[in-house]
Each structure stands twice: as C-alpha cells, then as structure tokens.
C-alpha cells in the first residue's frame, strides 16, 4: 500500500510537466500531519533513489570494466595480427634476397635480358622508380640509366649509431639514389627522394665492427658521411658486392669513353657537379603538384593505376583494357606537362604488365593444357588487338595453334596400316588448319596485314605435315595401292576443308609430294616390266587348269573383283582358255591402272600414260617373241588368242577406267591396241 503511494509520488515528481510551486502549495493546504507524512515519504523515496543510483553506478561500472577488457583483448589481437604481418613481410623479403644472392643464375638472367632489350628494360625500371618515389622524375629522365638493385636500409647516425630513419636505396647503373621512407603512406608512393650520389667518387666503407650494430656499412660522399644498416649479413654482403661491381662497370665504361674522346671526358667531370646542384631540390614534387593541371585531379584518374592493378590481378583483362582505352582517350586532350608525362609512364608500365599477362595466356607452356580450341585464345587475342599489339597477338596465336596441331598429331598413333594412319592424320590436321583459319579471320577481321602471317604459317604447318606424310607413305615399302589411297585422302581433305574457307593450299601439297610420286611410279613400272620378262621366260603357252570346278570358280571370282570377266574362256569346267601369264598380267594391269588413275593429275598425266604404255609394250614384246620362237610353232593360235585378249579385251577395260574418271584415253594406248594386226601377220609369216 505504502509502496504504491510512494510509486505514485515518484510518478508525480518525475512527471514532465511537474510544477513544484503548485505541488508544494497543494501539500501545505493539508496541515502539519500531512506535511510530516509527506516528508517521510519523500525521505523514503530519496533513500530508495540513492540506493538505485548506487546500484546503477555499480552496474555501469562493471559494464565499463567489461568493455575495457574487451578493448584490451582486441588490442592484443590487433597487435598479434600486425606481428604476423611483419613476420610475413620479413619472410618474403628474405626469400627475395635469397633468390638474389644465393642463386647466381637468377641474377644473371635479367642481365641477359637487359642486353637483349635494353630500351624496354630501362623504361620499365624507371617507371618503377616513378611509381615508388616521390620527386625523382629528374632522375629517371637520364637516358640509358637503369636500376640494378634496390632494398630497404636503415640510416644510422655515423657517430652514435642510432637509427635516424628508414630509407630505400636504389642502385642505378651510374649512381646511388637514396629515398626516405614515408610512414603512414598508402598507395604506390612510398618514398621521398633524398639524394642522388654519383658512383664515381662514392667511397664505401664496410663497417666490420661497430660494437652492437651489425650489418652496417658507410657511404662517404663529401660532405656527407652516411651510415646504413642492412637487414642481414647476406643483404649487406650483396650491397657491398653489387656496389663494387657497378662502380667497376661504370669506371670501365667511363674509361672507354675517355679513350674515345678527351673532350667527352671533360664534360663528364663536370656533370656530377651539375647534377648535384640540380637534384637536392627536394620540394620539386611539391611545386609540381601545385602546378598540376586539373586534368589529373579527377578521382577516377587518380585511382586508375590501382584499378588497373586490381583488374590485372583478378585477370579481368577486358576491364583492364576498357580502362586503358578510357585513359588513352582522356590523356589525348591533356597538355604535355611533366606531371602528365609521369602519369603516362605509370600507365604505360601497367599496360606493359597487362600485355605480358595476356601474352602469358597465349604462351605455350608444358603445364598448360592444349585442349581448348581456338576459341579459348580468342579472349586474349581480342584484348591484345585492342591494345594495339596485333602483331604479337597474331604471332602468339599462331604459335599456340602450332603447338596444338603438333600435340594432336603426336596423339595419332601409328598402328601398322599406313592408310588408316594417314586418314587419321588428315582428319586431325586439316580440320585444325581450317578451324584456325576460320578463327583467324574472325579474330583479326580488320587486320589484313596479319592475314599474310597466317598464310605463311599455314604453308609452314602444311609442309611439316606433308613431311610426316611423306615419311610414312613413301618411306616404307608401301604398295602403289596404299600410296594412291593415301594421296587421295589427303587431296580430298585439302580440297574440302580448306577451299571451304577460301584457302587453297593443294598446290603446295602437290609440289611437295610430286617428286616422291614420280619416283614411286617409275619404280613400279620398272618392277612390272621386270616381272613380265621373268614370267615370259617361263611361259609354256598352256591353258590354265584348275583341276576342280570349285577352284576354277574361285579364280573367276578373283578376276571379277578387279573387273575382268573370264567366263567366256572357261572350257570343260576347270580349264580357262588363257595362259596363267596372261591372266596375271591382266589382273596386275587392272590394279595398276586403277591406282595410277587415282593419282592422276595434269602434271602426272604423261608419266601415267607412259607407264601403262610401257607395260603393255613389254607384254606385246613377249607375244612377239613367242610367235617367233620355233618351239611354240604349234601354239600360234593360242598365243594369238591371248594376245587378242590382252590387246583388245583388256585394253577396253583400261579405256573404261579412263572414261569413268573422265580422263581422255591417250593415243599411245590406242596405237598399242592396234598392234594385234601386226601379231597376226607375224604369225602368218613365221607359221608358213
């Protein structure tokens, strides 16, 4: 009850529109008792409030302590984090140093590159300087100057050995640049230019023993004597060695120059002083910033280098190229003030990185899979073209394709049958070529200059492939049938695949294989004529006797398979009214004609005709010899029958073959066919 009243009182007192005058006047109306009562209530309320207040303070206090604890824990965590980061950093830098110091090969490699491409390297080096050091643009403008070594050092007081500041030293090929480290600086600019010292008169002192200070060395450069401390013994050793080396290199260079011209040497003696005068203007950058034109003030321009870095790191090449195009467009209208130039070179450096990245995409490396089709390279190629590097893109693209073709050809296994292998080879090679062609025309649409590169490339590739082809087809003891099939396959591919993209290389193919083909055809002809002569000696002019009807029909089938019908010559089931020699000749002749006609081209036509004619003539000679031979006097009729078959029936068949391929039947063969008459008359004259 009481509590509620007090609560009521508390409510009344804590009301927003509480009017103390009104409250007091109301209370005083009731007399003394009520006032006393009121006083007691207020007393209780005041006690309670004090208690609550105390309680709340305590509660808040404990919360405060808790918060403080949390903060200290957080601080500890942050500290740990920063510790881990510094550890990581030192680990990385020591790793980099190790690779520089312990591995001579790595150190020397970049040197070779310098020789190969000094211009580009120099630019890159100096751009790197601009990137990192504030106010060093005058240093980078000296032509031929390039960076040799750089690293963090601590500058010590030469007397007391206390650390003055952190610096970064850049050893250039002719001087040493010291830049002060800027603490709390974000972005790429980390150092401020402090001084540039000519190597000519730079005296270096190896501080062997300086009590507690380790890994220090001094640089005496009148009037300065500076002492620096390296991160470790290795780093110091490296610094001393490389300083010595560079000094020597510079001295020998200077000596050469002096020998060349004394005048020039005099000039050189003056330069250090001039440069010394011009360099210690440390506020250079400040003034430059001050006169910086508005055009570089835009936010996106300021952030562009970093954005570019990010794009490159994320392999967002399209985005990077977009940015490059945008900035190129923008900078076109900017005045050529030094700041813009500096900015330009920063961007150029990025573009170079980007180009390298893109080229890396196209580079053929053993660890990268070559499975991706030509489309896989399209992305990098397109971006490179946009950067204006179409020549490199073209070169790399084609190299990439070469590697793919090589890889694919290698995967085609040679498994005995030449025809099968050649078919597979063609199936792999020609589609690859045509695919490349299609992709190439797509990727390099408006770069007609690149087309010639493609043509040259295609020719080279084709020659390589034909070499393989020749090795397999003509290298072994393949028969004419196999060879002709292979050649036919390849020709078909040439026509179908490449003509479809408007690219005819069959003449290259023909050119390469013709000599081999001619050789093979001639060899075959000689072999056949040999065979005809050999068989002719053994010819007894007997009918073929197959003894059984079954054997006979098998023989007939065999002859049928080459397109010859000998049924009319069958007598009493198992005899064939032709000699074995004639039948064999007919069969070989048919096969040879077929193969030769498969190989037929306009260039080869005379050779083919000659070959067939020669072969027939050889057989004709055999008939003539037999007719003249007195041993076969009684067989004249049979000889003539054979001759008639060969010269007329067989010749008809040969003619048919020519006709089915719509090749005109050569006159030489017609005249050979006409020789039958001569044989008849020969028979009469010798028979009588």
């Amino acid at each position: 009850m009481e509590g509620r009243v007090e609560h009521g009182l508390a409510r009344v007192l804590s009301k927003q529109d509480f009017d103390p005058d009104h409250f007091v006047s109301k209370q005083t109306e009731g007399g003394e008792d009520q006032l006393l009562d009121m006083k007691q209530k207020i007393q209780i309320l005041s006690d309670e409030t004090a208690h609550a207040l105390k309680h709340n303070v305590y509660k808040n206090y404990s919360q405060f302590i808790e918060t403080a604890k949390e903060i200290s824990i957080l601080e500890g965590e942050m500290y740990q984090l920063s510790h881990i980061l510094t550890e990581e950093k030192s680990l990385m830098s020591s790793m980099m140093e190790m690779s520089l110091v312990s591995d001579k090969a790595i150190v020397e490699q970049p040197k070779e590159q310098t020789q190969e491409n000094p211009e580009e390297d120099t630019r890159k080096n100096l751009a790197f300087l601009l990137e990192k050091v504030e106010g060093c643009s005058s240093v980078t403008e000296v032509p031929g100057r390039h960076l040799i070594h750089n690293g963090d050092l601590a500058e010590l007081d030469a007397e007391s050995f206390t650390q003055i500041q952190k610096v970064h030293a850049f050893l250039l090929n002719d001087s040493l640049m010291i830049a002060t480290w800027l603490p709390n600086r974000r972005g790429p600019v980390r150092y401020r230019f402090q001084g540039l010292y000519e190597l000519d008169s730079l005296a270096i002192v190896n501080v062997r023993d300086a009590g507690p200070i380790k890994n220090a060395f001094k640089i005496l450069m009148f009037p300065d004597a500076k002492m620096y401390q390296a991160d470790g013994a290795k780093a110091k050793r490296h610094w001393l060695d490389i300083l010595e080396e560079t000094k020597k290199a510079k001295a020998s260079r200077d000596k050469q120059k002096k020998e060349a011209a004394i005048l020039l040497a005099e000039q050189q003696a003056h330069t250090p002083e001039e440069e010394r005068k011009s360099f210690p203007i440390e506020d250079d950058s400040e003034t430059m910033v001050a006169i910086e034109t508005d055009c570089l003030n835009a936010d996106w321009i300021q952030e562009l280098p970093e954005d570019l870095d990010m794009c490159i790191a994320q392999r967002d090449f399209e985005g990077a190229v977009d940015l490059v195009e945008k900035v190129n467009e923008y900078l076109k209208d900017c005045p050529k003030v030094p700041v813009v130039k500096e900015f330009r070179s920063r961007i150029d450096n990025r573009i170079k990185q980007l180009t390298e990245g893109l080229m890396g995409e196209l580079q053929v490396s053993p660890e990268r899979s070559l499975r991706g089709g030509p489309r896989a390279a399209r992305r990098a190629v397109t971006q490179l073209i946009r950067l204006g590097k179409s020549a490199q893109a073209c070169d790399l693209f084609l190299k990439n394709r070469s590697a793919i073709i090589k890889y694919n050809i290698k995967s085609v296994k040679f498994e005995g049958a030449t025809t099968l292998y050649i078919r597979r080879l063609c199936d792999v090679f020609f589609p690859c070529l045509s695919e490349t062609g299609k992709e190439f025309t797509k990727a390099f649409q408006d770069h007609y200059g690149c087309m010639s590169a493609f043509v040259v490339w295609a020719k080279e590739e084709l020659e390589m492939c034909v070499n393989t082809f020749n090795r397999h087809v003509f290298g072994g003891k393949s028969t004419l049938t196999v060879i002709s099939e292979c050649v036919q396959t390849a020709r078909q591919h040439c026509d179908e695949q490449l003509c479809s993209i408007g690219f005819d290389v069959s003449f290259v193919f023909e050119d390469t294989i013709t000599p081999e083909l001619e050789r093979v055809v001639q060899e075959n002809r000689d072999q056949m004529i040999e065979g005809i002569k050999y068989r002719g000696n053994d010819d007894k002019w007997r009918k073929m006797n197959h003894l059984k009807e079954k054997e006979c029909s098998r023989f007939l089938e065999e002859m049928m398979s080459v397109g010859l019908d000998l049924k009319p010559y069958v007598e009493s089931d198992c005899f064939v009214a032709l000699t074995m020699n004639t039948a064999q000749f007919a069969k070989i002749c048919m096969t040879m004609t077929k193969d030769l006609l498969t190989l037929h081209t306009l260039e080869l036509s005379p050779l083919i005709t000659d070959t067939i004619t020669e072969v027939f003539k050889a057989q004709l000679l055999h008939f003539e010899d037999s007719l003249k031979n007195p041993d076969f006097k009684t067989e004249h009729k049979f000889i003539l029958k054979n001759a008639k078959y060969v010269l007329e029936t067989l010749m008809k068949k040969v003619e048919e073959q020519f006709k089915t391929r719509s090749i005109s039947f050569p006159k030489q063969l017609v005249s050979v066919s006409g020789k039958y008459k001569k044989l008849e008359s020969l028979s009469k004259s010798s028979g009588s």
Partner: protein
C-alpha cells in the same frame, strides 16, 4: 638501442690507416682490435672498426678506417681521407717502394685536409709507421732514412710489428693523443676555455 647510446663515450677519435697495399694496415688494425695476427693476406676494400678504449684514464672511442692500399680512384680516396681526424701512414720496412709511396699519401692527405705543410702549428695528427719490424733481416728502409723523412715532416716515426705486437698500441694511442690535443686546441680557439685534461696529455699507458 638508447641504453647502448647512453653507455657509449661521447668522444670519438677517427683514425685512418693509409699506405700501399700489403704493408700491414689491416694486420695492425686487427692486432689492435682483437689482439690477433692474421697471416693470410686478403686485400682490403675499406673496413671500419670502432672500439672503446681508455685513453689516459678517460673513456673514449676509436674509429678506425682501414683503407685499401690498392684503391685506384683518387676521388674516392679523397672521400676516405676527409672523414679522418688522424692518420697512420704505414709502410713496410722490407719494401722500399712502400716507403716512397708514403710521400704521395701525405701529400694527398694534406691537400684533402687543406693544410699547408709548411705551417707546423696547423699540421694534422699524423704518424709515420714502419711496419714489419720483426723482419730485420729483410730490411730495405734504414731507420735513419725514415727518421730523416719524419723530421722533415715534423711527425713522429715509430717502427711496429703487427706480428709481435711491438708498438702496436703505442701508435694508436699516440695518434689519439695527437688528435685529442688538436681537438682541444681547436675548442680553445673557439671558446677560449682551458680544459683540465690537457695536463695529463703526455702520460704513457703502454704495457
């Protein structure tokens, strides 16, 4: 770091070793620094050492710059010499050429330090040191000749042996005393004050 600094004596005497190659500059330095004699000869480029020593009861630091006898570039040598307060010009008593070379070194030092050699009061702390005194049988430079030259230059001549440690400490301490008195004169000229230390100048501490 700050503790180390506090312990270090404020006074630093900068000594430079000069002389032709192979006369024993480094050997003297190392003998003085670490009491050891190094037999192996390895040409020095430019090494510096610092050591705390007690000079006539006062703790000071000696900073030794051991230069290259073979340094070819005069401009670079100039820079070394500029940083020094006193010079130990070393030759080998077994090598006449090294003795002849001391004249060139002295000339260069005087030129660099901008001192007129005729004025004795303006001279530079300098000791002519004939090293390898233990190799008496191979001596090429007579004592008289060396002394004559030192008198001409108005500098002390001391023969040492880095091998036997003979006179090694003496040359360094003598030179430091010279440097100290020169510094004192300079400060006297500057502020006109006389210091107490001056009186204990010529006390010998050689063992």
């Amino acid at each position: 770091m700050s503790k180390a600094k506090a312990q270090q004596p404020a006074v630093i005497h900068k000594v430079i070793m000069v002389g032709s190659g192979g006369v024993g500059k480094s050997a003297l330095t190392l003998q003085f620094m670490y009491d050891e004699f190094v037999e192996d000869y390895e040409p020095t480029k430019a090494d510096s050492y610092r050591k705390k020593v007690v000079l006539d009861g006062e703790e000071v630091q000696i900073d030794i710059l051991d230069t290259a006898g073979q340094e070819d570039y005069a401009a670079i040598r100039d820079n070394y010499f500029r940083s020094g307060e006193g010079f130990l010009c070393v030759f080998s008593i077994t090598e006449q050429e090294s003795f002849q070379a001391t004249a060139e070194f002295r000339e260069q030092i005087l030129r660099v330090k901008n001192v007129n050699s005729d004025k004795s009061d303006d001279s530079i702390p300098f000791l002519l040191v004939g090293n390898k005194a233990d190799l008496e049988d191979k001596r090429q430079v007579p004592v008289e000749e060396a002394q004559q030259r030192s008198q001409q230059w108005k500098v002390p001549y001391v023969e040492t042996s880095a091998k036997t440690r003979a006179n090694v400490d003496k040359v360094f301490y003598d030179l430091m005393r010279e440097i100290r008195s020169r510094k004192m004169e300079a400060s006297k000229q500057n502020n006109g004050k006389i210091r107490k230390k001056e009186k204990s100048k010529r006390k010998c501490t050689i063992l």
